[in-house]
């Protein structure tokens, strides 16, 4: 079946089987391999992308369901060589260890900050409930999101934990 969609601002189309999952379309057809396949069962969230502005799990959506949609993947987050504030936060606050969950975490965190520009720690943890970090590095992920939130509000981010932040 023919599908067309806009991915990271680029119009793409391809002939796919109905059973092609959106994540495979993104990785194998478009060669955008930043979106990861983790658990494949809908639990881990490593495959999270934005479809029409909302975070979804691309391993649990058919490419044909996204026909006509606007999709953003991790590759679409930086612009003109500048990291998205959430990407910068993960860099500055060591929000990753092995890095496998990171693209999905960033997509979920960015969507959370779109809806709630100043989330509490509890709200951040609930906002990333659909994303699992197998390294259990949640502490610094939360700090990374706090950093990004502050940057996006035009505020000075809290000092990192290792410099006496809380």
């Amino acid at each position: 079946m023919q599908v067309s969609m806009t991915v990271n601002g680029r119009d793409v189309s391809a002939d796919v089987e109905p059973r092609t999952l959106l994540v495979h379309f993104i990785r194998e057809e478009l060669r955008l391999t930043g979106t990861h396949v983790g658990c494949e069962t809908g639990y881990c969230g490593a495959c999270t992308v934005h479809v029409d502005g909302k975070p979804i799990k691309s391993c649990t959506m058919l490419a044909v369901q996204a026909d006509g949609a606007t999709v953003t993947t991790i590759e679409g987050m930086a612009s003109n060589g500048e990291l998205h504030p959430v990407q910068e936060g993960f860099w500055e606050r060591h929000g990753l260890q092995c890095g496998f969950c990171t693209p999905g975490m960033i997509m979920s965190a960015a969507a959370l900050l779109e809806e709630n520009e100043n989330p509490s720690e509890d709200e951040i943890r609930h906002g990333i409930e659909g994303n699992l970090c197998r390294c259990t590095g949640y502490h610094n992920i939360v700090r990374a999101v706090e950093y990004a939130g502050a940057k996006m509000r035009g505020e000075e981010p809290p000092a990192p934990d290792w410099e006496g932040g809380d």
């Binding site: 059973r19 044909v64 369901q65």
Partner: protein, 282 residues
């Protein structure tokens, strides 16, 4: 993991969708329950009828004494609309996770009829009525007759659950939902959960509905609890005594998440919490 091959149709109208339904077809809305089953090859429909592109099914409408939630209303919208009674709205807010709530639909979760899903319990407690449409007409099925068995609803193969009607909360009425999730706290499917609706007048409970999920072979009403609540003042003691009848008519199923004894205990705990919260929400 890929599903087995299937034919895919995305009709633009309900009439076209009815025409596409057959013996080996399956209706898909968000696909949050169906696609994982297909990927694990536990279920392989010949044709997937994707109703996601049919117009007019994605709204929550006010009809005076009740609201109706269309087949394409996502969990996130049911949770946040403000028009949905608390028990069902809370159940929707605790369904899956953020990403699942952005894709999955309330009607889809009801039609899927998982034994441990949240919204079936909310629908039962709220006195919901399922609107099942087919080429030959429309049937209205009370929630109490809709959940037949594990993953089995009263829908026929040629029918689509096009909306669910929920009575609006009136004076003196309150509802609530609470659960223990499989991942701890309230995350994931319910190890055990309960929804409650109560109506109070002149200081006593005039009517009640209490529903269980995660405990038995299907989401179901705990009529014994409701019967025991009616006529009481809704005091903590009265609620706790009524909760002792939570398992009347329920076959408690042990699973990976809890023994029969543990689930039986949890059922009473969550019935107590849900009823107390429903009374507090009046």
């Amino acid at each position: 993991m890929y599903p087995r091959q299937f034919d895919y149709v995305a009709p633009g109208s309900l009439d076209e969708a009815f025409g596409a339904l057959g013996d080996t077809s399956k209706v898909m809305a968000g696909g949050m329950s169906l696609i994982p089953l297909m990927k694990m090859r536990l279920f392989s429909p010949g044709t997937v009828v994707d109703i996601g592109r049919i117009g007019g099914l994605d709204t929550i409408d006010d009809h005076g004494d009740h609201i109706s939630i269309g087949a394409l209303v996502r969990h996130a919208e049911t949770a946040s609309s403000g028009a949905v009674p608390t028990a069902l709205a809370t159940a929707a807010s605790l369904t899956g996770d953020v990403q699942v709530r952005n894709r999955g639909t309330t009607c889809g979760a009801l039609a899927h009829a998982d034994v441990a899903a949240d919204q079936p319990a909310g629908a039962l407690a709220c006195g919901a009525v399922m609107v099942a449409q087919s080429a030959s007409g429309t049937r209205e099925i009370p929630a109490s007759e809709f959940f037949v068995d594990a993953l089995t609803s009263a829908l026929h193969h040629d029918e689509i659950l096009t909306s669910v009607k929920i009575p609006k909360a009136g004076d003196g009425e309150g509802s609530a939902y609470d659960k223990l999730g499989r991942r701890g706290g309230r995350s994931d499917y319910a190890v055990a959960g309960a929804a409650a609706w109560v109506k109070k007048s002149n200081g006593s409970i005039e009517a009640a509905r209490v529903a269980l999920t995660g405990v038995g072979t299907k989401p179901q009403l705990a009529d014994g609890v409701a019967e025991a609540l009616v006529g009481t003042d809704g005091s903590d003691g009265a609620v706790e005594a009524a909760a002792d009848r939570a398992l009347e008519g329920v076959t408690v199923l042990e699973d990976l998440y809890g023994s029969e004894e543990y689930k039986s205990h949890l059922a009473k705990v969550y019935v107590t919490r849900a009823v107390k919260q429903a009374l507090a929400n009046i």
